[in-house]
């Protein structure tokens, strides 16, 4: 008596306690055919099946899905206390099944994901955040100690390394710094021009562009550019060195990675940033100049005189001082995240991302603090 049938799979019941699955033809890629549901239905405990047989003489081709199906049948048989005889299966399938059963499943190997309650998750992320903060300050301490060693001339510090980094993050960044700051100058001037012309005082565009660039935009934009350009590179370099055991190699030679790798990068950015800021300020002012002489009734001489008059020396110093600080922040974020990196390609990618996020956040936040302080101190 035949219960279920389809082109290549036939379930028969030669005797009341025996099931026979007959297979034939090409059963590759016929997943809808090899449905465990069908077997489960006919093997229902109420039907009293005790033995499962196969007949596959007519099978011309099979693939791994077929083996997986038989494995599922075997598992079902175990739970239902049905004996499975594999004599009727193709030789290859039987061998693969035996191979799959050779090593029993390690009970503790399969990872169980327990869904944590909200409060637990909150607590865990708070602990993680706290640890991260601790690491951040530990790294700061190590850096200050290294800086102290450098000043006393005892650091494992090579000036050529620092000069090389300066070359990479200074002169080679001039193009992008110029482009961005020129555009910022243009934008500031456009915004000022429309508003100030209404008051009949278009010449004050020079004040606006000059002060904004020198005090804020020059160092802020340059810091952000450097963070994306150089901070990310630092994190990727140090992260890759960690994956490659190069950092461990330094440690086994007693060479401090902070003094040898981090310090040159830090020093290079702190030294280079003020120069980049001055350059950025000049380019930004040039952008404002271009808008003013082409759109407004202002000559270049008038504009430049007004600019020189408007910018106070302390604003200029504040700008490049902040620039230097942002240089430190960028190098710190890049190196910290790089040294924190794990030992895989994905970890290096994550370190790079976190370096840029940390760097930009720290730059903008500290710029806000500077603004409040300057206001309070009337600088």
């Amino acid at each position: 008596m035949s219960n279920v049938s389809s082109p290549n799979l036939l379930v028969e019941r030669p005797s009341p306690d025996t099931l026979l699955i007959k297979l034939s033809g090409d059963i590759r890629g016929q997943s809808e055919l090899l449905s465990i549901g069908v077997v489960r239905d006919v093997m229902d405990p109420t039907t009293g099946a005790r033995l499962l047989l196969f007949e596959s003489a007519g099978v011309s081709a099979w693939d791994s899905r077929f083996v997986a199906f038989i494995r599922k049948c075997a598992e079902l048989c175990r739970t239902r206390n049905v004996e499975l005889r594999d004599e009727g299966l193709p030789e290859g399938v039987r061998r693969l099944l035996r191979l799959a059963q050779a090593v029993p499943e390690r009970i503790d190997a399969r990872q169980v994901f327990v869904k944590a309650p909200l409060l637990q998750k909150l607590g865990e992320s708070a602990i993680r955040g706290w640890r991260d903060t601790l690491e951040l300050f530990t790294f700061l301490g190590e850096n200050l100690a290294a800086l102290g060693n450098l000043l006393r001339g005892r650091a494992q510090f090579h000036w050529p390394d620092a000069l090389l980094v300066m070359q990479e993050c200074g002169p080679q960044a001039l193009g992008i710094v110029a482009m961005i700051n020129f555009l910022v100058g243009l934008i500031l001037a456009f915004v000022g021009a429309t508003e100030l012309t209404r008051f009949g005082a278009p010449i004050y565009v020079a004040d606006l562009v000059g002060i904004a660039s020198v005090r804020e935009m020059g160092c802020l934009m340059t810091g952000i550019i450097l963070c994306g350009r150089t901070g990310a590179a630092f994190a990727a370099q140090l992260g890759t060195m960690k994956v490659n055991e190069e950092i461990s190699a330094f440690q086994t030679f007693g060479i401090s990675p902070v003094e040898f790798l981090v310090l040159p990068r830090m020093v290079a950015l702190i030294v280079v940033m003020p120069f980049l800021c001055v350059f950025a300020d000049l380019i930004s002012i040039a952008g404002g100049l271009l808008v003013s002489i082409s759109m407004l009734d202002v000559t270049a001489t008038e504009y430049l005189t007004r600019t020189i008059h408007a910018i106070q020396f302390k604003s200029f110093l504040l700008g490049i001082g902040k620039g230097s600080f942002f240089g430190f922040v960028v190098a710190y974020a890049g190196c910290f995240r790089g040294m924190q990196s794990g030992y895989s390609a994905a970890a290096v990618g994550e370190a790079t991302t976190r370096a840029v996020v940390t760097g930009i956040t720290a730059i903008v936040a500290s710029d806000g603090i500077f603004a409040v302080l300057c206001n309070a101190l009337h600088i």
């Binding site: 494992q156 060195m241 490659n244 190699a249 330094f250 060479i255």
Partner: protein, 252 residues
Amino acid sequence: MKNDETKIEIRNLTMAYGSYIVMRDIAATVQRGSIFVIMGNSGSGKSTLLRHMLGLQRPAQGDVLYDGESFWGVDDEARQAQLRKYGVLFQSGALWSSMTLAENVALPLVEYTDWSAADREDVVQLKLALVGLSGFEDYYPAEISGGMRKRAGLARAMALDPEILFFDEPSAGLDPITSRNLDKLILELRDSLGTTVVVVTHELASIFMIADDSIFLDADTKKMRVQGNPRDLLKHSTDEKLRNFLTRGGAS
């Protein structure tokens, strides 16, 4: 066995990652001038043991003693001084990728000697010649093959004439001939310099060729099984797991 012949002593070392214990109570001694092999299946904690001996990972318990002096029981500065006793060849070579081979070998000399640049250069050339890399001074690590990178790593490890050399899986990723040549080089260096050598490996051919002494780490019991010469262990040991390992499973 005279006591002053002991170069390294591992004393009741327990290794753990957080609360996960890798191995407990490892105790072994390494004789001066011997080649000591740390054997074990993949994942048994061989490399972790090496990291503990190198000062890269702090033990959960126990200590490592070099020439009878504690390594982990002292402050960082004293430990830094002990670092000078050994050189390490990492699994991938771990050459500093931004430096040429010559610069890699020269850096430890720059940091720890007051030699003139010319002297340094001569020594760098000698060390590279010892590992068969004469003429490759100005190559970057990315420009040479894996086997050459390992040999260059060895040249760097030998830069400061260390009393002990550590090798992490020296034959990993090398073809049989290159691997055998590296083993010969290890033997040659030990014989000519008297260096104490510690090798982490699971390569049987290499173990039987170079080892004077060995320990076997068992991942299942998280314990060290025995210490002894692998050839003797193969003949006399009744430990089934170890025999299985030494015969590629042929003993079972």
